[in-house]
Symmetry: C2
Subunit: 652 residues, 2 copies
C-alpha cells in the first residue's frame, strides 16, 4: 500500500536547469584564477523542457560589490543540438569575484518562431495566433512602461495595435508580429518570473598580472653586499627584464647546530649558516639578519625595487633554529618526544639538525596560526607583496586557506608562490585553496616526451584554471644532472624552454654563470652551495645577453604570457622539441635542440588547424634571421656549437 | 593599513581533504544508478599535507537505514604518486543509497614507516624513537580496552612492555615495534579525532535488475483480442524470452476530432482512433477502453504476466482528447487562446488535432501535479511496475523529479522509461532527475562509425553512471529508411545490434513480420499504421526464431547484460561492425554485416589489451559453428543471403 503521497512544493520550481559552468574548479567548490584586465570566457548548459525560446545572461561582480553587472550570453547555434550558452566579461579589479548565469523563457520569441513556421507551411488562418501575440505584446508594453522605456513602449504598443485592428491587412499584421525591432524592444523588458540561476555563484580569484606573468631572479643578499649591495643591482636587474627579485630568508640565523660549508654538521666560526635556520638572539621571523643590513635598509630596497617595477619576494619558511625566540616563548608550539627532547626536522634518512618544525597539532594551534599571520602581516606592512612559501605541503591545508584568504581580504595584490614538490593532488590542492603560483616538476622534465606531456597536463583540462606554474631552471637545492652534464648548450636549452613555455619562470643566481658542479656524484646539491657560504657574486654571467633578449621577447609577445595557448609540433626527431604559442595575432614558434652534445636536424610540422596561412615568414627573434615557412613540414637544424634554439615570430 | 585580521576558526578544520568521489554524477548533485546485487566500485582522492600514513574506509547505507555499514579502501600503490583510494561494496536492496569516504591519519603506522627508514639507513640510536612508539601503543591500548577488544589489547600491551623495558634487547624492541600483527591490532582501534569525510554523502539509486537488463515487446492489445487475447499470448512471449510487455495507452479514446486510418483528419464510424488521444465519456487516465476489456481483465493480465516473470509496462501519456473528463472538470489545466478557444497540440507544421496538452503553467499546477501522481498511483495499485512515459521532455523537469522520487519512496521497484527524442542535455537531465531508462537515437545510427561513436558516448564517461539506454529497433512512429530499403537482412542486422549492444532492447510488434512499408516516400510512418487501425496480429513472424535465440543468449551471457563493457574492433571494412563485450569470464564477440545487400569480407582485429589468450576458440551461438581465433587479425565473411551476423562466445 502507498503511504500518504508527497504534496507538491508550495512554489513552482524553476523549469530551467543551468549547469556545467566554466570556468569552474570542482564544480565551483574552488575559485578559478584570472588576472585583472582578462576577459573571462564563460559557458553553461541551459536546459528546459519543451521548445520555448530562452534568453540568458552572465551576471558578475567583485565579491564586495552589491549589485550584479550583466552581459548577454550567446545561445548555441540553431540545430546544433547543443545547449551551451557562451559569453564573457572583463575583470577590472583584483580580489575575489563571483559570477552566475541567469536564464528565462521568452514567450514572445517562442510565439514568433511558431508563427514563422506556420507561415512557412502556408497556413493563413491565424487570427487566434495573432490575438495571442497581441496579448503577449500587451504584457510586454506594461513591463516597458514600468521600466520607463518610452521608445520601446511606443514600438510595442504600435505593433499591438496593428495586430488587434480588424482594419489591418494580413500582411501588415504579419509584418508587425515578426518585426525584429519589436522583438528586440520586447526582449529588453523580460518577464523574469520563471528565471533560473546556477545553483550557486561561481567564485573567481582575480590577481594582478604578475600572478601569471613574470621573470624571477633569486639571489642570496649576503653574496651581494647585503640589502644595500642588492639595491645597487636593481638597475641592472631591471635592464635584464626581471620583474621579481626573490630573496631566501633574510632573518637572523641560528648558531646552535649551525651547518658548515657543504652541509657539514659543525660550522666553522665564520660560516654564516643556512638562512632557512631562522632565528637567533637577534630575533625571529620579523627581524633581519644584521649581516644584511637594517630593517630600514630592507625597506629602502623594496621601495627602490618598486620604482623599477620590480617586486621583492620574501621567503616564508615555517622553521625555527634552536635559537629562535619562539622556542622559549612558546615551547608548546614544537614537537617534543616522550623524553622531553625537541624533535628536529627530518625526512629519513635526511636530517635537518639546525631546524625545528612547528607543530600544527599543538594544543595552542590557534596561537601559532595567529603568530604566523602576524609574520606575514609584518612584511606586508613593510611593502612586501610576494611570498615564496617554503614547503607548504607539510603544513595543514586549512591553515593556508585561512591565511591566504585573510591576507587577500585586505591585500588582494599579495602573491603566494608554493615551493611544493609532492604528489600532483597535493600540489593541485595547494593551488585550489589559494596559492597564486607553484613550483613544478619542469626541472626534471628533459626529454621531448616528458616535456610535452607535462606541459599538456598543466595546460589542458581543469588544472589550467587554477594552477599557475613557475618554471625555475635551477634553485639552490636543484642542480639537475642535465645541467651538470650538458655544458652551455644545456643551460641555454633549459633557459629558452622555461622562458617560452611558462609565463612565469625563474633563475637562481649562478645559472647565468653556467655553474654546474655538484657536491657529489648523483647529487643535485651544488658544490660549495651558497646555502651554507657567502659568495662574491656579480651580474656578469655569459648567459645574461640571452636572458635579456628572452625577457624582452616575453614582454613583447602576448602569446608567451599565457600557458594554455601551446600546441606541440611533430618534429620527426626526438632531440628536437617544437611548439607554437598563439594569442590573438601573436604567434611564436619555438624549436629547441635538447641534445646538448650534437647537431640535430628535423622538421617542424605545422598543422592546418592552427589557422596560419598556407605560407608565411618566420623571424628568429634571437638573431633576426628570416625563413619561409608554411603549413606542413618545415626543415629545422640546430647545432649546439652555434645555437640551441629558434624563437620564431610568425609574420604573414 | 590592515584591518582587524581574521581570527582562526574555533575548531581545528580537518587536515585531510577527500575529493573526486566516483561514481558520482555532477559531483554528487545527482544519483548514480546501480542494480541490486551489483558491487559498487568506488574511488576517491585522499589528500593530506605531509607524509602521514593514512587509512580510509567507504561508508554506505540504504537512505532509510540509520547506521553506516563500512568496508576498507585500498590505498594507492606506494610510490605511484597517486592519491586515489579504491574499494567497493555490494548493494543488497532497491531504493536510494548513500555512501561516503572517511579517512584519518595513522600516527603509529607513520612512526613505523619512519623507524623502518631509519633502521634501513643504519641508525641505531633510537631510544627516543622507541619511547615515542611506546607512547603511541599506550594510547592504542586504551582505545582497544574501550572497544572491549581483549586480544588486541593484549597484543598491543605486550609490544608496549617490550619497548619500554630496559631489559629488552634492541632487536626485541625493534621486532615488537615493527610487528605487522601489532600494527593490525592498533589499526583496528583508530584514533578518529582527525578523521575527515567527503563534503556530502554521494547518492546512489539502486533499482531491480530489470532497470538495466530486459527484452521488451510492444503490442496494441486491440489487435490481439483485447486484454484476454493478450493474456493468451503470454506463454508464447515468455517462451520467446521477453521480460516486458509494453502496451500503448489502454484508456478510452476520444471521439471528437478522432483520427482515421493513416492519420486522416476525419475518422470513419468504425475507426478506433489513436490510443494517445486519451479520454472519452467512458473516462480518462484511470479508465480502460471498454473495447479492450474490463479493469479486472487488465488486472488479470498483469497477474498472469507476473507469474511468467513478465512485467506489463503501461504508457503514461499526459495528453487529453477533447472528450477527456478533465476538460470539463478542470478547464484551468489546459491552454486557452485569448479568444477562449482551446489550443490543441502541435509542433508546427505537425498538428495533433485530437490531442490537448496539459498546461503546467496553470494557476492550479499543484492540482494538476497531484492528479497526475494519482494516475500513476492508480496503476501501481493495480500491479503495474513499469511506465513508459510519452514525451517527458515537454513537461517540467521538476515535476518528474517530484513524481519519481515520491513514487520510489513507497515503490522503489517502479521503472520509468523516458520516451524522449530531444537534444542530449535534456535526455541526460531526464535521466539525472530520476528516469530509470531512456529511448535513444539508436534507431537512426546505421553506419559503423555512427554506431560505434554513439555507443561509446553512452558507455564512456559519466553518462554511463546514470543514463540507461533502451534500444528499440522500431516503434509505432519509427520505421527507418534502413528497414524500408534493406529487407530481411536489414531487420536481422538491427535485431542483432540492438540485442547485443544494449542490455535493454525492444521490438514493436510487426517487426518480426518484416513489415517495411511506409505511408509515403521519405516518411518513417507505417502504411496503415496500427496507431489508427486495428490489425489482426499473431506471433508468427519469420524472425521469431532469431529473437528467441538472441534472448536466450542474452540471458546466458553476463557480458550482454551491461552496456559499458564494450570494445569496438577494427574490421578494415566499413560494412562490417565488430565488438567485444566482456564481463568477468564471459566474452562475446559480435560481427554484423550492416550492408544488407552484399556479401562482405573483412577482419576482426582483437587487440592485446583485452586480456584474451594468444589463440582461442570462438563458438557461434547462433549456429553452433566453431572457429579458431586469436589476438590480432581474424578473417570474417558474412553473406546476407545466408546470415548477417556472428555472435561468438570465446572459449579458451
Amino acid at each position: 500500500m502507498l503511504s500518504v503521497p508527497l504534496r507538491p512544493p508550495v512554489n513552482a520550481p524553476p523549469r530551467i536547469i543551468i549547469e556545467h559552468p566554466t570556468p569552474a574548479v570542482d564544480g565551483g567548490r574552488y575559485a578559478a584564477k584570472r588576472c585583472v584586465g582578462d576577459r573571462v570566457e564563460v559557458g553553461a548548459d541551459v536546459v528546459r523542457d519543451g521548445h520555448e525560446a530562452l534568453r540568458a545572461v552572465v551576471r558578475f561582480r567583485p565579491e564586495r560589490e552589491r549589485g550584479w553587472r550583466e552581459a548577454p550570453l550567446t545561445p548555441p547555434a540553431r540545430g546544433s543540438g547543443s545547449t551551451r550558452w557562451s559569453g564573457g566579461f572583463e575583470v577590472d579589479a583584483v580580489g575575489p569575484w563571483l559570477w552566475t548565469v541567469l536564464a528565462w523563457s521568452d514567450p514572445f520569441e517562442s510565439w514568433r518562431e511558431e508563427l514563422t513556421r506556420k507561415l512557412a507551411a502556408g497556413e493563413r488562418e491565424l487570427d487566434s495566433e495573432l490575438a495571442e501575440g497581441a496579448q503577449l505584446l500587451a504584457a510586454a508594453a506594461e513591463r516597458a512602461a514600468g521600466d520607463g522605456a518610452g521608445d520601446d513602449l511606443e514600438a510595442i504598443a504600435r505593433a499591438q495595435t496593428i495586430l488587434e485592428s480588424p482594419a489591418s491587412s494580413f500582411e501588415e499584421r504579419d509584418d508587425a508580429a515578426l518585426s525584429p525591432a519589436v522583438a528586440e524592444a520586447v526582449g529588453r523588458h523580460p518577464d523574469l518570473r520563471d528565471a533560473a540561476e546556477l545553483e550557486r555563484p561561481i567564485p573567481l580569484d582575480v590577481d594582478r598580472l604578475r600572478a601569471r606573468f613574470g621573470s624571477w631572479y633569486e639571489l642570496f643578499p649576503r653574496s651581494w653586499g647585503g640589502f644595500r649591495g642588492v639595491e645597487d643591482q636593481l638597475d641592472a636587474l631591471a635592464g635584464l627584464g626581471f620583474d621579481v627579485l626573490y630573496l631566501p630568508p633574510i632573518h637572523p640565523i641560528g648558531v646552535t647546530n649551525r651547518k658548515g660549508a657543504n652541509n657539514a654538521l659543525a660550522a666553522g666560526p665564520d660560516d654564516p649558516g643556512s638562512p632557512w635556520a631562522i632565528g637567533s638572539r637577534e630575533g625571529g621571523h620579523t627581524a633581519v639578519d644584521p649581516a644584511l643590513g637594517t630593517l630600514a635598509d630592507f625597506e629602502a630596497l623594496v621601495v627602490s625595487a618598486r620604482e623599477r617595477e620590480i617586486d621583492v619576494a620574501l621567503d616564508f619558511a615555517i622553521n625555527c633554529s634552536a635559537d629562535h625566540p619562539w622556542l622559549t616563548e612558546h615551547p608548546e608550539w614544537f614537537h617534543h618526544r616522550p623524553d622531553g627532547t625537541l624533535k628536529y626536522a627530518e625526512n629519513p634518512p635526511k636530517k635537518y639538525q639546525d631546524i625545528y618544525n612547528l607543530n600544527f597539532d599543538s594544543a595552542d594551534w590557534r596561537g601559532l596560526w595567529e603568530a604566523l599571520r602576524d609574520v606575514v602581516r609584518f612584511w606586508i606592512e613593510r611593502g612586501v607583496r610576494i611570498f615564496r612559501v617554503d614547503n607548504p605541503h607539510t603544513k595543514p591545508l586549512p591553515f593556508w586557506e585561512w591565511l591566504i584568504r585573510g591576507v587577500h581580504k585586505d591585500h588582494p595584490d599579495v602573491i603566494f608562490l608554493a615551493e611544493a614538490f609532492t604528489h600532483r593532488s597535493l600540489m593541485q590542492a595547494l593551488a585550489k585553496i589559494g596559492f597564486t603560483q607553484s613550483y613544478t616538476y619542469f626541472t626534471w622534465k628533459n626529454s621531448r616526451w616528458e616535456l610535452s606531456e607535462y606541459v599538456r597536463e598543466l595546460a589542458d583540462g581543469e588544472e589550467r584554471e587554477y594552477f599557475r606554474p613557475n618554471f625555475f631552471v635551477n634553485t639552490p637545492d636543484i642542480l639537475t644532472a642535465y645541467l651538470q652534464e650538458g655544458g652551455r648548450p644545456a643551460f641555454e636549452a633549459r633557459l629558452v624552454l622555461a622562458a617560452t613555455l611558462s609565463p612565469s619562470y625563474g633563475i637562481y643566481s649562478g645559472f647565468e654563470n653556467l655553474e654546474d658542479r655538484a657536491v657529489a656524484p648523483g647529487s643535485e646539491e651544488y658544490l660549495d652551495s651558497e646555502k651554507y657560504e657567502t659568495k662574491a657574486r656579480a651580474l656578469d654571467g655569459p648567459l645574461l645577453p640571452l636572458v635579456e633578449r628572452l625577457n624582452a621577447i616575453r614582454r613583447a609577445s602576448p602569446a608567451l604570457q599565457r600557458l594554455d595557448d601551446v600546441t606541440f609540433l611533430e618534429t620527426e626527431n626526438d632531440a628536437l622539441i617544437a611548439y607554437v604559442k598563439q594569442r590573438e595575432e601573436n604567434a611564436i614558434v619555438v624549436v629547441v635542440n635538447i641534445d646538448a652534445a650534437n647537431p640535430q636536424e628535423g622538421l617542424a610540422v605545422v598543422p592546418h588547424d592552427l589557422g596560419l596561412p598556407p605560407s608565411f615568414t618566420v623571424t628568429d627573434l634571437l638573431t633576426g634571421e628570416r625563413f619561409a615557412w608554411g603549413i606542413g613540414r618545415n626543415f629545422v637544424g640546430l647545432d649546439p656549437a652555434a645555437r640551441v634554439a629558434h624563437v620564431l615570430q610568425v609574420t604573414t
